[in-house]
């Protein structure tokens, strides 16, 4: 077995021992501490016939950490690395305090289970803090955030999608000064897989020209001139609106003039028999053509 064999084996066995994740269980240090508790501490501090049952209770209590109500303000089944680290450290500190006290028997069981009850509340508060302050901190656009799913301990990237509109920033500078365009938002640096910043000049007809692309969030244009700006609207002189009634009348008059005359020449009445035959033929042919078209379509 190579250098990674034993840790891998322990991790695999831990995965089997703790099938339903409790979030803090996702931290290898917590799993190691629980294994050590079972293998090293309990044999000298608890009667042999109670050890298995007590250890099951302790594991269940740790797994129950994930059983918090789902709410976007408190817990959504995920935490980030920092929150997990904080919660794990707190739990390990409390566990060490109990084992350092050399507690035995029933006292040990009571202290351990009460500690785990409090630790769950502590985890809940850390999760709520993460949810309010650090989960998807972007107010607009798309941010990629690495998270840990408590139910499976998988670490994956979550796409935080908010409104596409990140608003506008108006930058006013004097002519011949430098114009500095800073497009960095506060969540950019923590976004996973940040790519390039692209700066486009948008013209009056809404067409766009790429001005710059790169890793820097700031574009500086030196010694700006009026042509570099989006100018305010010119003040329009008031022009009296045309007389719409006159226009309409004119239009009507034109239409009246342009309308072609249609005359209906009196036709020689055809025999009824001939008309009926023609109608019959039209109906037959029309039906055939329609059916063929439907079948071909």
């Amino acid at each position: 077995m190579g250098p990674w064999g034993l840790p891998l084996l322990v991790a695999t066995l831990a995965g089997c021992v703790f099938p339903a994740r409790g979030c803090v269980i996702c931290d290898p240090k917590v799993r190691e501490a629980l294994n050590s508790l079972e293998a090293d501490y309990l044999p000298g501090h608890l009667e042999a016939n109670h050890q298995k049952k007590v250890m099951e209770k302790i594991k269940q209590a740790v797994e129950d950490f994930k059983d918090l109500p789902i709410d976007e303000d408190s817990y959504m089944g995920v935490v980030d690395e920092a929150t997990l680290e904080k919660a794990s450290w707190s739990l390990l500190k409390d566990m060490k305090r109990i084992t350092d006290s050399d507690a035995k028997g029933e006292l040990f069981v009571k202290e351990m289970l009460w500690m785990l009850h409090l630790a769950k509340n502590t985890f809940a508060s850390y999760a709520a803090q993460f949810q309010k302050e650090a989960f998807c901190p972007n107010k607009c656009g798309l941010m990629l955030q690495p998270l840990i799913w408590c139910s499976t301990c998988q670490k994956q990237v979550h796409a935080c999608r908010k409104s596409k509109n990140c608003g506008k920033r108006e930058v006013k500078v004097h002519q011949m000064e430098d114009m500095i365009l800073d497009c960095e938002l506060n969540w950019h640096k923590i976004s996973q897989g940040l790519t390039d910043y692209s700066f486009y000049r948008v013209w009056k007809n809404n067409s766009e020209t790429l001005v710059s692309r790169g890793k820097e969030p700031i574009l500086t244009k030196t010694m700006v001139r009026p042509k570099d700006a989006v100018l305010p609207k010119r003040i329009q002189e008031e022009i009296p609106s045309p007389n719409t009634e006159t226009q309409d009348e004119t239009a009507l008059g034109e239409v009246a003039v342009d309308l072609p005359h249609t005359t209906v020449e009196p036709q020689t009445p055809k025999p009824e028999q001939l008309l009926r035959r023609r109608l019959f033929g039209v109906l037959i042919w029309g039906l055939v053509v329609l059916t063929v078209c439907v079948l071909i379509a």
Partner: protein, 243 residues
């Protein structure tokens, strides 16, 4: 009027009645679908495959990717965040439903005055349902039908009171259950496989083209149309007797 006149007039009524609405390259009459499909250069992420011919706009394609769907009034995060692979299937399914111009054969009129339309029993390929179910096994939900009965609170749809969050297999024991129940029968779990031409893919690689156009053509064939109206075919034959 002779009997043959009645027969002839009756036959004229059959073709337009039997063919009904256009079934190919159409959008359903339901917001926010476009009136007819057309190219959309700015479709977002999972909706990109339909950019050459889409029933959705760029704005709709973005909204399709939000955690709380503005399009259907359900939330993808009602039991916490979905695993990304699971969420991707839902985004693909939403884009498929919103953007595909190939759902004509399965569009049905709904509503009190039949003014709106929806899709019913669109046959999804075997692999699509199986993969969707497999990738969602570790995610959670609290309902098997996501198109209604949510408890609205603070402006968002949430799990009803006595509907606990459980892993997907609890509410959808099989892939077919997932495909057929999650959107009230919009989809049907077809036993056919991708490439058979007899089932729809809810997503496809843009470079490979849309395989669903051919499927829609097969399901919209005139033979199927005519087969649906034997009664109407008999109608003109009875007309001559009405004299």
């Amino acid at each position: 009027m002779g009997w043959w006149w009645r027969l002839l007039l009756g036959l004229w009524a059959v073709p337009p009645t039997c063919t009904g609405r256009e079934l190919l390259n159409v959008c359903m009459n339901a917001k926010p679908h476009k009136p007819e499909p057309s190219p959309e250069a700015e479709l977002y992420e999972e909706c990109i495959p339909w950019k050459d011919n889409a029933c959705c706009t760029a704005s709709t394609s973005w909204e399709a990717h939000l955690d709380v769907s503005l399009l259907y009034n359900f939330s993808l995060v009602h039991c916490g965040l979905m695993m990304p692979d699971c969420q991707r299937h839902f985004l693909q399914a939403i884009c498929f439903y919103q953007c595909s111009p190939n759902l004509g054969p399965w569009i049905q009129k709904v509503g009190p005055h039949w003014q709106a339309e929806r899709v019913l029993d669109a046959p999804l390929c075997l692999e699509d349902c199986e993969r969707w179910w497999a990738d969602c096994r570790t995610s959670h939900t609290c309902k098997s039908d996501w198109l209604g009965s949510w408890a609205w609170s603070r402006g968002k749809p949430r799990c009803p009171e006595r509907a606990p969050c459980r892993p997907f297999p609890h509410y959808f024991p099989t892939p077919a259950d997932l495909c057929e129940r999650i959107w009230s029968g919009s989809f049907r779990a077809s036993p056919e496989r991708r490439g058979s031409g007899r089932c729809l893919q809810k997503w496809f690689e843009p470079a490979r083209g849309n395989p669903n156009a051919e499927v829609a053509r097969r399901f919209a064939s005139p033979a199927r149309s005519w087969a649906r109206c034997p009664g109407l075919l008999a109608f003109p034959l009875l007309l001559p007797l009405l004299s």
